[in-house]
Structures are given as C-alpha cells and as structure tokens.
Amino acid sequence: MAQAKMAQAMDPKEKIARRVAQEMRDGYYVNLGVGIPVMVADYIPEGMEVVLEAENGMLGIGPYPYEDQVDPDLINAAKEPVTEIPGTSYFTSADSFTMIRGGHMDVTVLGGMEVDEKGNLANWTVPGKKLRGVGGAMDLVSGARRVIIAMEHTTKDGQPKIVKGCTLPLTGIEVVDLIVTELAVIEVTPQGLVLREVAPGVTPEAVQKVTEAKLRVAENLKTISL
C-alpha cells in the first residue's frame, strides 16, 4: 500500500525512468537518449557498474559538474558539460558509431513519438513542423542489441502514442524491443504487442483504452514495482 502511494506521488517521467533502470545489469554498455532516457542514469542501483556512452565520443559518463569542475571540452550528447569517472575513455565519432552501429551496445534507451504494433519507431520529426535533424537516433536503433522506448503513454492531448501503424516519419523499422510508460511495460514480439506489466491500480483494460494498437495481456501479468 505504502509503495503504491509513493509511486502515485511520483512524476510520470520519474516513474518511467525508474522502471527502465530495472532493465540495467552490471557491466552493460548503454546509450541514453535526451529527455526521459537520460534520467535513467539517476536510478541505476548503487554498486551496479553500467557504462554510459555519449555518441560524441565518450564512454563512462559521470555526473553533472560542480561549478568549479565545468569543462567546455567535456560534454555529453545533449551538449551539457559532464564529468569523468574511473574508467572513462575518449574516442572519435567514427569509433563511437562503430560501437553503436556495430552491435556493441547492450541497450539503447530513446524517447518516442509513436511506436506501432510491429515495433516501428517514429521519434525524430513531425511533418510540417520546423526543421529538425536526426542526429544519431537512426544509427542507435539499427545497432543496439536491445532498444527500449521510454515515453509517456499518450500525447499532451491524450492521443495514443502506441499505434497500429506509425504515421510520423520513421526512425527505424521493427527496431523496438520494449516500451516503458508510466502506465505499462509492453514487449514487442513477432506476434504483436504483449502487455507484461501495469502500474499499481491500473487495469489492462485501462491501458488498452489509451492504446491504439491491440495489446495481448501476458498470462503472468505483473504490477510495476518501483
């Protein structure tokens, strides 16, 4: 009961980040995208060594700097100064994308605008909106062993983001393995989307109501435990 109450008080983004952090394992090499994904770093369990990669050429990203530690030559992919940790290494962008595209990342966590029944992902641009680039997103989804999408379940207007078929410009075809929202954990399988976990107090029907794609409820449906 107390745990459910604590979970309810939490900001949705924090809920998502905390649940995604549970997918981490000691010794994983992970790329965390801008937005909710990068918050996952704050919830990696004490003592678990997960090596975070920045696409601009760094492995072993440390915390944000104290004011006297700020170094403009030491930034993450969001262009914010960060710090080193024991084991940090620097390398070229070419080597970075060798790691990314060459299947060396254990997990990549990205935000999403739309994910569909086949695991297609749209997360880089909206037609008609202002000019946007793609950065490393398309490479990240093409190479990672596991792609987790960390996103809120619906748009600001309450529209489903987990859809039958993506209508927004795609980032990658059939690339998503797991979707984590504040309401649910959904696995992408060759047979379609499987609802594996629901947030405390949330029913599968409630999740299906705000999901356009058909969800098959797992036999051993669990409750998200943060």
Partner: protein, 232 residues
Amino acid sequence: MDKRVANADTAIEKVTDGATILMGGFGTCGNPENLIAAVMRKGLKNLTCVSNNVGMADFGLGLLVSEGRVKKLICSFPGLNKSCEQRVLNGEVEIEINPQGTLVERLRAGGAGIPAFYTPTAVGTVLAEGKEVREFDGQKYLLERALRGNFAFIKAWKGDRWGNLVYRKTARNFHPTMATAADYVIAEVEELVELGSLDPDSIHTPGIFVDAIFQGTKYEKKIEKLVLRKRA
C-alpha cells in the same frame, strides 16, 4: 618540413568562394573558432559546409549561416538555431540531413579511398529516398557514397610542425576523420609544441594528414547548456 603558418588568415589563403569545407566539432565543443572567424573576415560566400551541427546563431558556423555565407549544409542535426531554420525554410540555404553515423562513415570512407559502402541505418525512412537498397544475409542496407571536402578545418589541443595532433576529451569528435577527407587540411591548435615532445603512442592524428598548422588565440569555447550539480 615545417607546416606552420602564421595565423588563420594566412592559413585560408587558398580558400575561395564556393568551396566545400569540413568543420569539426560537436555543437560548440571543439570548434575551429579562429578559422571560421577568418572566413567571416575574408568575406567568403556560397560555401558548402559539412558539420555535425550548426550550433548557435551568433557563433561559429551558425554565424556564417546567419550572415548568408553558406549555400549548402550537410549535417546530422542543424540544432536550435532560428536564423539557420529561417534561411533553410526560405530556400536560401540547401540542407542535406545525414544520420550522424552515416555522416562520419562517409567522411571516413572519403579519407580511406572507399568510394561507397552499405549501412543499415535509415533503411525504410525518408532519408533512404533515392538510395539503392541491397540485401546481405537477409537484412536490408542502403548504399551511401563517400564524402570529401576541398578543405578541412581541424581544431586540436596540441600539435607540432609536422602536423601531428592531439585532441582533448570530447573536443575530438569528428576531427580525426575529417582530417583525412579533404584536399587541404588546416589545423588550429591551442599549443604548438616542439617536434618530438608529443608521445608517439598518444598522437591521435599523424601529421601525414595535415597540410598547415597554426597556434590559435582567444578560444571562447561556448557552452550550449549548463546543468550544475549542487553541493550538499
């Protein structure tokens, strides 16, 4: 052999209107600040610039774009640069978006004598339009062409008169690759050191790739976004 030149203005004597210039840097990190400022001063225009980002409107490449000096941009993420957006949407500046990994691999190929290569990145997306697709071992790949420049503007931390270069932290990014992929490569360094003082095991760009080198001055090293950790 002495590749040293006096300054950025001397270094860009060969650069003319319409040139294709590779510019290293990730956001405002590791920008060849002196060279870009020299291009501004010289009044060069109709440039094609290859750079991961365009950065801030009033700094570096963003400034060249705002000032109407750039005809075409090849980049992966133009960035939150309103002036750049305006010129592109008006049709004044042509823009070609490449996925970041594809961009750097095109440059690597361009420097390595590889005319084209296949990548899984962007298959099935709008960036695959017009590109050949081929299947290998049951997976689809896009054919991408090598990319080279007339000039490359490289920013490094230290260098010597042979053009050997060492970079610092994440200011390295695209520079080592771009240094291989242009007809004339200019390096600006924070410190020019004696030949022999750089540890051979630690040289990031062997001087063979570099044509001219000078010691830069007054680096601004802008920070785009600052998040500080609070002391307890």
